[in-house]
């Protein structure tokens, strides 16, 4: 146990005191202010503000595009994670480093460049648009930037589990006559489920709140391509603070629900490990 008695080392009071003070000022009080504002509406008004057809369309879109992007990221992340752990190839370290770019690149830059790539005269749009595939300013574009922002999560959760996988179990399966595909499906895949789910949930949570990249590539049309954070911002522009707070509370509950799921998943995967 690395903890010590409070008398043996100094600074417990100062450390915890400052932590609680800063946490309260920056996080807890603002969160409370949001809840108080939303609660001040009363149930009927809250419902009228947060559950309009336009708001419901925004939640459904936010949930849907985040879910799609996270699901696609599971597949992409498993491929890239597997390749980076199992194989040796030229430029491997470059690929590994590039995986982290979405964590460091400002989301506004991502939105800007993705929109630019897929418009009609863009590097990729010049091939896709003539085929009738419109990416820029559509829902497909939103999914695409969310794939970008959530890309590192599955790769980074799967990588350590793959690296720790016991080689002997795989060898034993091979010795006992399992084909490579059977070994993968029966032995390797089950151990990858918990980290892949964790990565999925992290990417999903990131997608729910994402704003910076999406507004560049979305046309932000109500009922079509308007995500929930965009709607909150529109309400704020109209000085409808209560309504903005109500929609924000719905969005927050979606995120916090997911946070609970992530915590459960992490405990589950730790128990398996």
């Amino acid at each position: 146990m690395s903890s010590v008695s409070r008398r043996a080392l100094p600074g417990f009071g100062l450390g915890l005191g400052f932590t609680l003070f800063y946490l309260s000022v920056l996080v807890l009080i603002p969160l409370t202010a949001l809840l108080v504002k939303a609660a001040s509406l009363g149930p009927a008004e809250f419902f009228a503000a947060a559950w309009t057809p336009r708001a419901r369309a925004a939640y459904a879109l936010t949930f849907g595009v985040s879910f799609c992007a996270a699901a696609i990221n599971v597949v992409l992340g498993l491929i890239v994670g597997w390749t980076l752990v199992r194989y040796e190839f030229p430029l491997k370290r470059v690929i590994d480093a590039l995986v982290d770019v979405p964590l460091a690149l400002p989301t506004a830059v991502a939105g800007l460049v993705y929109a630019g790539l897929y418009v009609q005269n863009g590097w990729l749009g010049q091939f896709f648009v003539p085929l009738g595939i419109d990416v820029a300013y559509t829902r497909f574009g939103i999914v695409l930037v969310l794939i970008f922002t959530g890309f590192p999560f599955v790769v980074r959760t799967v990588q350590p589990v793959l690296a720790d996988l016991d080689a002997e179990v795989e060898e034993a399966a091979g010795v006992l006559g399992a084909t490579r595909w059977e070994t993968f499906r029966r032995i390797i895949l089950p151990t990858l489920v918990p980290p892949a789910l964790t990565g999925f949930a992290l990417a999903f949570a990131r997608g729910l709140g994402e704003y910076g990249s999406v507004i560049f590539i979305s046309s932000n049309m109500p009922f079509e391509t308007e995500i929930a954070p965009m709607l909150i911002f529109s309400r704020l522009e109209e000085y409808a603070y209560g309504e903005a707070a109500a929609i924000a509370v719905v969005l927050l509950s979606m995120s916090f629900g997911l946070l609970v799921v992530i915590n459960r998943l992490e405990r589950w995967s730790q128990r398996d490990a």
């Binding site: 450390g15 915890l16 603002p30 949001l34 390749t83 709140g209």
Partner: protein
């Protein structure tokens, strides 16, 4: 030797699988990451290096945005670093009721949409709120001014330093500190001479990640800034405004600066990661 070769053969995938997966990985990372990165610089320099330089330096609003980001981000990072050190010290060195809850609360800002984060500060400091009116009456402008930018940025990047520092501090263990204490070191001597040197790479790692996110933050800052040109636009906000003004080449020029900063961040990350790992694995007795 012979055995391990057979074993490796049993673990090895068929050649076509390997080629297909490596090829897919190149395609995925190439299309998703490398191509957009290249495109930022291509678009930024599309009208030549002269225009590029003019885009960055001739527009006072753009210059102001660069300066503002270079002020707001470090202040927010410094605040979060102070907090991260305090939180890591309390959480990694002591047991107390509510410790697990505190650890969970530190991660909370990661699940709050940046727009919602901005909204929270508008609700407190906006001119419709009592506190906002009181501050305004006493001559303090918070919302639509740099203080709100700092608060919003600090909220969004809140967990970074604490999250990186707690596991490193836990791994290092308290033995050296206890020894120094028994030899009569004061609290601050202990901190500056023992604790800080032991965790410096972990701390730097957290600060770098925090800073990258702080400089690039868009949503939260967008909401609280009021987007007043030449006053409250940070670099990412200025990129958006330039695009709105149909000045794509200037938007991409400024975006290329942000991209360059994030590439530098990633290089620093790759260089520091092994040192953080060493710190996490060090045995107190080895030192």
């Amino acid at each position: 030797m012979h055995d391990s070769k057979i074993a490796n053969a049993r673990r090895a995938d068929p050649l076509w699988v390997r080629i297909a997966l490596i090829g897919s990985s190149f395609a995925i990372v190439g299309l998703l990451v490398a191509l957009p990165l290249a495109n930022v610089f291509f678009q930024a320099f599309a009208k030549g290096i002269g225009t590029y330089w003019k885009n960055l330096t001739a527009d006072p609003d753009t210059l102001h945005a660069i300066v503002l980001t270079l002020i707001v981000a470090p202040v927010a990072v410094a605040m979060n670093t102070l907090f991260g050190v305090a939180a890591a010290w309390a959480i990694a060195r002591f047991r107390f009721p509510g410790r697990t809850l505190l650890t969970t609360l530190i991660d909370l800002p990661f699940s709050v949409s940046p727009v919602v984060a901005g909204l929270m500060f508008v609700l407190i400091f906006g001119l419709q709120a009592p506190l906002g009116q009181w501050l305004k009456a006493h001559g303090y402008q918070v919302i639509f001014a740099p203080p709100a930018l700092v608060l919003a940025t600090a909220f969004v990047t809140f967990p970074f330093v604490a999250r990186e520092l707690i596991p490193v501090l836990e791994a290092v263990g308290p033995d050296e500190e206890l020894a120094a204490r028994s030899l009569g070191a004061s609290g601050w001597q202990l901190f500056w001479r023992i604790t800080l040197p032991n965790v410096k790479w972990g701390l730097l790692y957290g600060v770098i990640l925090c800073n990258a996110r702080a400089m690039g933050e868009f949503g939260a800052v967008y909401v609280v800034s009021g987007r007043i040109g030449g006053q409250t636009d940070t670099m990412p906000l200025r990129v958006e405004k330039l695009l709105q003004e149909y000045n794509a080449s200037a938007a991409f020029a400024l975006a290329s600066v942000l991209t360059l900063l994030s590439i530098i961040t990633l290089i620093a990350k790759v260089l520091i990661e092994p040192k953080v790992r060493v710190e996490q694995e060090q045995e107190p007795s080895e030192k």
